[in-house]
């Protein structure tokens, strides 16, 4: 009987130690998460004013090609997002038919764009400046989005194709394991190696100079393992019965894949692509060596993919290491804030897509 009392005493002691350790671990974990939340808040507060500083006067056009269109698109997106968020909030309170909501969002976006496109925050539409204060990141935002679109256009067909191959058409032969090994290798390369590769191929061998296309291509390579991995997982999650049924109805394997498997796995594939867009926003090392660190006034907003241009992440690095402008702290904060907003929007879009797919 004394041993039972001893056992109970030991249990109580253990429980005390355990609770203490658990409290410690909890504090540490909450502190860790709090650190990130705090850092992001500080960043948004500091840089947010740059992003939200709508002007009362109209900013004059800077005589750069395509600037009018870019201002319109920026303003339309900002107002469209605000309208979308407002509509979603309203939807919680009372049901609104979806068509009405969509029309309202479109109307607000276009109206806001027409009225306010010259009153956008100066930071968002001004050209960057190396030596004077007051530089903005308009061309950088454009380049970031353009590079993301180009890179996704390259990753989309190849990534889905490779994923379909691995998930549905691969045998158990050697080639499959070679492809998997290749993907593993690509995933384990540091990002600067991609930059060096792009530099060697595009700038040195092909003498094409810095170009956004080179940057987009290199980023597509960087994203391939991620996209193929997630897409393959979604494709594998398609229930076999659906495909059996399709095959039983006489469809070929390709038809089945194209009309049954891919549509079913589409939300997962889309979320993989959106994740890859998030990665494109965040990369800077490959782009410094392939797309360069300069903004050219004449093709700041040009759609020519063979011209160089810096993106937001590159600009954030450049301003802090090679820039001579006196307000670089402000510019850095603003650039970081814009980047965070873009990434948050992208993540939000990804979660909405996954949600939408789940409902289907």
């Amino acid at each position: 009987m004394s041993s039972l009392a001893e056992l109970q005493r030991m249990r109580r002691r253990h429980r005390f130690i355990e609770t203490a350790l658990e409290r410690l671990l909890a504090t540490g974990s909450i502190g860790l998460a709090g650190l990130y939340v705090f850092a992001l808040l500080v960043l948004m507060l500091r840089g947010g004013s740059k992003v939200t500083n709508f002007t009362l006067f109209a900013s004059p056009l800077l005589d750069v090609g395509g600037e009018d269109a870019v201002r319109f698109v920026f303003a339309a997106s900002i107002f469209g997002c605000a309208a979308w968020a407002a509509a979603a909030l309203v939807q919680r309170v009372r049901a609104v038919p979806r068509a009405t909501a969509r029309v309202a969002i479109a109307f607000v976006a276009v109206a806001g764009a027409l009225l306010f496109r010259d009153h956008l925050p100066r930071f968002l539409i001004a050209l960057p400046s190396d030596t004077t204060a007051g530089g903005g990141v308009g061309p950088e935002i454009f380049n970031t989005l353009y590079a993301a679109v180009m890179s996704t256009a390259i990753t989309l067909p190849i990534g889905i194709g490779a994923a379909v191959y691995l998930a549905r058409f691969a045998g158990a032969g050697k080639f499959v394991s070679v492809v998997r090994m290749a993907l593993d290798t690509l995933a384990s390369l540091p990002s600067i190696v991609y930059g060096l590769f792009g530099f060697l191929v595009f700038v040195v061998e092909m003498k094409a100079g810095y170009s956004l296309l080179a940057g987009a291509f290199v980023l597509a390579l960087l994203n391939l393992p991620l996209v193929v991995g997630v897409a393959e997982e979604s494709l594998r999650a398609v229930p076999g019965e659906l495909e059996d049924a399709s095959l039983a109805l006489g469809a070929t394997r390709v038809q089945t894949t194209l009309r049954v498997t891919i549509p079913y796995a589409w939300p997962g594939i889309l979320s993989a692509l959106v994740l890859s867009i998030g990665r494109v926003f965040a990369e800077s090392a490959p782009l410094v060596m392939t797309a360069g660190t300069t903004i050219s006034r004449s093709d700041a907003y040009s759609l020519n993919p063979l011209r160089g241009g810096e993106t937001l992440a590159v600009h954030l690095w450049y301003v802090n290491s090679a820039g001579l402008s006196p307000d670089k702290a402000d510019v850095s904060a603003g650039t970081a804030a814009v980047l965070i907003v873009l990434i948050a929007l992208t993540n939000f879009l990804a979660s909405r897509l996954a949600h939408f797919g789940g409902r289907k």
């Binding site: 191959y165 691995l166 600067i192 191929v201």
Partner: protein, 325 residues
């Protein structure tokens, strides 16, 4: 024949050969299959291309300077023709190890807490927070570190080494903490996934035997997910070793081995970025930079490969044990 397929065998997978015989051959089928195969081939070709291009220039650099000098030489002065890479490798190694200690370990413990010991409602919130933190670009962390961390590092260094220390706050300590902060969210998410993959039956059995959640966590779940956790930490380590731009902002760029953690130093990736701008292509200076990137490549890929090997080795032995039990 089709009738028997529909009624008798509808629930099992019908081999394609039986259907192909009845299907009309379509050229579109071959084209698309060809495209899909070509995508797989493209992946392989791209990987081979990347490694070949880097290796070609890198091998030329190794031939010019010699591997021993590149790995152990103590003076890196391209303008003088000396390419001793030891300070670079030292910086990368210490930064990555420091990052693993400062970032990966706390992230692991946090994942254990969230997955095992915290109230269940906290998990999605924590997960979302860390997903957003993981999506933040590394240069943003680098800039935040430059503005807020480097002055603190200078203060700590002066506290440790006296007011007269020759420090500016940039150095291996700042770089290690920055990298730790950068890899912690990713390691957290990977560990959380690994821990959640441990079957619930194991946890339930442990609880049925009278173990507290603490005991379950540390004696059952963590060993159960052990190899994957190891992989997660190694992955973070590899990412920390390869990080370039953010490290360049806080490490100081002094091309020598520092005497303590608070003196300016350099890493392989930092030096590659800084020197690449001035190097003329196809010269020794340029080729040596590719050789150093080969070193980085081998280090990074090697670490990931080792971690995967450990992961699969563990799994195969465990499944054997499971089968026996």
């Amino acid at each position: 024949m089709s009738k028997s397929v529909l009624t008798a065998e509808a629930s099992t997978f019908v081999p394609a050969e039986r259907l192909r015989a009845s299907a009309r051959p379509r050229w579109g089928e071959f084209v698309i299959r060809g495209f899909i195969g070509a995508c797989g081939l493209f992946v392989v070709v791209a990987t081979v291309a990347v490694i070949t291009f880097i290796a070609r220039a890198g091998v030329r650099g190794i031939q010019d300077v010699g591997l021993a000098q590149l790995l152990s030489g103590e003076i890196w002065k391209p303008e003088a023709g000396t390419f001793g890479g030891y300070p670079l490798i030292f910086g990368t190694g210490i930064s990555a190890v420091g990052a693993a200690l400062v970032g990966a370990l706390p992230a692991l413990l946090a994942a254990v807490w969230v997955s095992e010991l915290a109230p269940k409602s906290a998990r999605p919130i924590y997960r979302r927070t860390m997903e957003i933190a993981a999506a933040v670009p590394s240069v943003v962390y680098g800039w935040l570190a430059l503005v807020h961390l480097v002055p603190q590092a200078e203060w700590v260094a002066r506290a440790l080494y006296g007011e007269e220390a020759q420090v500016t706050g940039e150095g291996l300590a700042s770089s290690a903490v920055l990298l730790g902060i950068m890899i912690a969210p990713t390691v957290f998410l990977l560990s959380l996934d690994a821990l959640s993959r441990v079957p619930g039956t194991l946890r339930e059995a442990s609880a049925a035997l009278g173990a507290s959640s603490w005991q379950t966590a540390f004696r059952v779940t963590i060993p159960g997910a052990g190899r994957s956790l190891f992989t997660a930490v190694f992955f973070g380590f590899a990412r920390a070793a390869g990080e370039t731009m953010a490290v360049q902002m806080v490490i100081g760029g002094a091309r020598r081995v520092p005497h303590n953690l608070f003196e300016p130093a350099t890493t392989v990736s930092t030096q590659i970025v800084m020197d690449m701008q001035n190097a003329t292509p196809n010269t020794t200076a340029s080729n040596v930079l590719f050789s150093m990137s080969l070193v980085l490549l081998v280090l990074s890929a090697g670490v990931v490969l080792i971690s995967r090997l450990i992961g699969t080795w563990g799994r195969s032995t465990k499944s054997a044990k499971g089968a026996k039990a």
